[in-house]
């Protein structure tokens, strides 16, 4: 049951609208309820072939040799695709917005870094023949030590998961192994607090569990173009990713999405399109590549795990005066989008509360598991779990009602947030009040009278004096670079602590933006300023 509380914030709205605010039936309802909406997999094209990949049985192993002799002779096989057949077999999704380094091959070449990593693709007349051929591929692996725990991965001597990031962490602003948030002085906050509480929270990976698994169909079109039917959540993101990997102009492709059978973040990674198109290019036939349920569940990217440590200082009267957070995003073997979520997570601290001292270190860590990706609430869901469990414990600690405790600490219009922007258009207090009303949860009169519009700002609008960390230069170590990244500029007169490492041997020619992908200006921080 849904109730619209038009009485609240009524003077901030014009409710005199004709179409807005109406519960109009959805445009695609008829198609959905009659089962006639078209999904990518409803396109049955003449002469369509089927692609499947061979996945690594090891979490971490060197590939010594791949023998496809027998597989090539298997009935119905049209083409075997290896890493060397992929025009640019190294990519990172967010290279489209110039964030991060190319770190993930479409098909593994030298090493596999997670169980389930694609090694070989087979294009055959039927899915069955594709699977039968895959069973005949012989791969000689040399298993390597693997690391699965985010904190173990950061210890000296831990196996290097992904050579692009030899410290097993994403590199922020060329120098840091984590995203920082610094606001005020948490240590002083803790020493002035009546209680200090430190807790650990852990979230395991979960699956998007869409009804329709990831997939696409690519077919040669007239005039050298390719039409691609896809379940992607981000059409041009996929177009540009394919243009880069296949090294052709982006207008080579006509991407057609449409009804998607559930996304939730699991269909951003463009997992099937590059190989389906490459299959179509190499065979001249339509090629379909769709994940089975087990592939979707274990090797399609999950919402990554997060480990979060929160330390809070709270006063007897219920005011939270300091919050320190250390969080680890388990990115799996490759970056995908976790690096970006860590920045979003830092921006989210300390939750929707006004706390005068906040400190955050957010790490994006590589481990030998299926790469994680976006999912509903990306960068925030697990942190909200940790923060709100912590808020409940703090309320319990000081003997306060948990609803009133949140109202007391809630951010209000005019307050300064920890990422140093003024809070506007806030409504947390009103949500708590209305939820309490709905749940018949008694609140004291003074808490019923509090408002997001009142008593914010003033002293709460100040940016507190904040100590800086030690200079970053000492932390700059021998990270590998791609040509996307410029080397950090040493401070005038200062010598770099170590000789600048030579650039790595690139497995592909130096990347040029010749693939037609849109290049935005560099996203972050020091490089821009």
């Amino acid at each position: 049951m849904l109730e619209l509380r038009k009485d609240i914030f009524a003077d901030e709205r014009d409710d005199n609208l004709k179409e807005i605010g109406k519960g109009t039936q959805r445009q695609d309802m008829l198609g959905h309820v009659t089962g006639s909406s078209t999904y990518f997999n409803d396109h049955k094209l003449q002469g369509m072939l089927h692609l499947q990949v061979l996945r690594s049985p090891h979490s971490h192993a060197r590939i010594r040799r791949i023998d496809t002799t027998e597989a090539e002779r298997s009935p119905g096989v049209r083409r075997i695709i290896r890493g060397v057949d992929v025009p640019r077999n190294l990519n990172t999704l967010l290279s489209l917005i110039n964030f991060g380094k190319d770190d993930e091959p479409t098909l593994a070449v030298d090493k596999v870094r997670y169980k389930g990593e694609p090694v070989i693709a087979v294009v055959a007349d039927s899915p069955r023949e594709a699977f039968e051929a895959l069973a005949k591929v012989r791969v000689d692996y040399e298993p390597l030590p693997a690391v699965f725990d985010v904190e173990e991965a950061l210890k000296p001597g831990a196996p290097v998961v992904n050579e692009t990031y030899p410290k097993n962490t994403f590199t922020y602003y060329d120098v840091y192994d984590h995203q920082k948030l610094r606001f005020g002085d948490v240590e002083r906050g803790f020493s002035s607090a009546d209680h200090v509480l430190e807790q650990r929270y852990q979230m395991s990976p979960i699956e998007h569990a869409p009804t329709e698994t990831n997939g696409s169909i690519a077919a040669p079109d007239t005039n050298g173009r390719y039409v691609v039917y896809t379940s992607t959540q981000a059409l041009f993101f996929s177009v540009d990713t394919c243009a880069k990997i296949l090294d052709v102009p982006s207008n080579t492709f006509h991407f057609i999405g449409g009804t998607v059978g559930g996304g939730f973040g699991g269909k951003v990674d463009t997992l099937t399109e590059p190989l389906a198109i490459l299959g179509a290019m190499l065979t001249g036939r339509p090629v379909r590549y769709i994940f089975g349920r087990e592939e979707e569940m274990q090797f399609g990217p999950p919402r990554g795990a997060e480990r979060i440590y929160i330390k809070d200082g709270v006063m007897r009267d219920g005011r939270v005066v300091a919050r320190k957070v250390r969080a680890y995003f388990d990115s799996g073997a490759y970056t995908r989008l976790s690096s970006y979520a860590a920045v979003k997570c830092a921006a989210h601290l300390p939750g929707p509360y006004t706390i005068p001292n906040v400190y955050g270190d957010i790490y994006c860590v590589f481990t030998n598991r299926t790469p994680a990706t976006a999912m509903r609430g990306f960068g925030v869901t697990a942190m909200d779990f940790a923060i709100e469990c912590q808020m409940d414990k703090l309320a319990h600690l000081v003997g306060m009602d948990p609803m009133e405790f949140r109202i007391l600490n809630a951010y209000r219009d005019g307050d300064m947030k920890a990422h140093r922007r003024e809070a506007k258009n806030t409504a947390l207090i009103e949500c708590v009040q209305v939820a309490a009303e709905k749940a018949k949860w008694p609140l004291r009169e003074e808490f019923k009278r509090m408002s997001s519009l009142k008593d914010g700002g003033g002293a709460r609008a100040a940016i507190p004096l904040t100590a800086r960390d030690q200079p970053a230069s000492a932390r700059s170590t021998a990270q590998q670079r791609t040509t996307y990244d410029r080397a950090p500029q040493p401070a005038a007169g200062a010598q770099p602590p170590h000789p600048t490492p030579p650039p790595p041997a690139s497995p592909q020619p130096a990347p040029q933006p010749a693939h037609g992908a849109i290049r935005f200006s560099s996203v972050f921080g020091s490089r821009r300023r």
Binding site: I206, F237, V260, D330, G377, C389, G525
Partner: protein, 340 residues
């Protein structure tokens, strides 16, 4: 051995759009010769209802009935660039782009109508039912169909518009994390009531009461669909799901929906929802986006309710019966907290 009830709460906010901005979306709107409008997008409707919401935004802005607008999505040849359907950005980013395109198209439509009625365009208004008339003089009127015909075949005008919405990219200070992550935030508070079986460790949902602030509920029925579905996705995350049951040990991962459990119809409980609307300054008609945030508050609310019911804190997700039972045993039995 007994079943214990408890209530827990959580309150949250959620940023709208891609963190730091820099994520444009574009829209094209044009009329056919009968005055029916097409919105061309490359954006994807994932089932959340973006086609329907942008259709209502377009109709409202043009001043025509919603039936006169059709939204075409997901084609890279005909639809202009959109960053994608993620980050709670559909309603806010794409909605704004459609609004801008519809405004431009409306400008041409009103000019064409003014020429036909021989008045100043500024003196005209739409009635939302397919007519344009002189303000204060409803009898001096022309249908949008006749305007479209005249514009195309007589005046040589294209009733069309282009729209883009872009929140400029924010830099981040590497030392302090200073940044502009989002231009607006949605809010929520969830009260969860659960029943915990101290013999099996099983947790059953009893009821949910919630309040969500979303800027503007452009279509309350689509909002309800999101909020109800999102809450259950959150319950599933809190109590059922993981692809690695012994994380960080990667073994014994589920392979299908027999091994990967989620709540079924028998687990569903009542959910009473209130929606608040505090319009965002830069939202289309003030709208933010309910998409992602509604799956978040239920996780901690359930964990807090379990503590209220039996006195154990489970800080590791998912909160399986095994974890609950071990924790109850470790503290020597259930310890119900103050009943709320």
């Amino acid at each position: 051995m007994a079943r214990h009830r408890g209530r827990g709460i959580a309150s949250i906010n959620y940023p709208i759009g891609m963190n730091l901005g820099g994520d444009p979306s574009q829209a094209l709107v044009h009329s056919n010769p009968s005055g029916k409008f097409t919105v061309s997008l490359s954006s994807i409707d994932l089932g959340q209802g973006m086609k329907s919401v942008t259709r209502q935004i377009c109709a409202e802005t043009l001043g025509v009935p919603v039936e006169d607008v059709y939204v075409d999505t997901a084609d890279s040849d005909t639809g202009p660039h959109c960053m994608g359907s993620f980050a709670s950005r559909g309603t806010h980013r794409v909605g704004n782009a459609v609004m801008a395109a519809a405004k431009e198209a409306r400008g041409v439509m009103m000019e064409a109508a003014a020429e036909e009625l021989e008045v100043n365009a500024a003196d005209l208004e739409t009635d939302g039912r397919g007519n344009i008339h002189v303000k204060g003089a409803p009898h001096r009127s022309i249908s949008t169909k006749d305007v479209a015909i005249a514009a195309q075949f007589k005046q040589g005008k294209t009733i069309s518009g282009r729209g883009i919405f872009l929140v400029p990219l924010s830099a981040v200070d590497p030392e302090t994390g200073e940044m502009s992550p989002a231009t607006c935030y949605a809010h929520a508070c969830m009260v969860a009531e659960v029943e915990v079986d101290d013999e099996t460790g099983e947790v059953a949902m009893v009821r949910m009461d919630s309040a969500y602030e979303l800027g503007r509920a452009l279509n309350p029925r689509l909002v309800e669909q999101q909020l109800v579905g999102g809450a259950w996705m959150g319950v599933s995350h809190a109590l059922f799901e993981t692809t690695e049951p012994y994380y960080p040990d990667p073994r014994h991962g589920p392979r299908d929906f027999v091994e990967y459990l989620m709540p079924g119809p028998g687990d569903v409980c009542p959910h009473d929802i209130a929606v608040l609307e505090r319009p965002a300054a830069d939202g289309p008609f003030g709208a933010k986006g309910p998409g992602e945030m509604c799956a978040n508050p239920i996780l901690p609310a359930v964990a807090n309710a379990i503590f209220n019911a039996v006195g154990v804190r489970i800080d590791d997700l998912p909160i399986t019966p095994e974890k609950v039972l071990r924790a109850i045993r470790a503290q020597g039995g259930a310890r119900a907290q103050a009943r709320r």
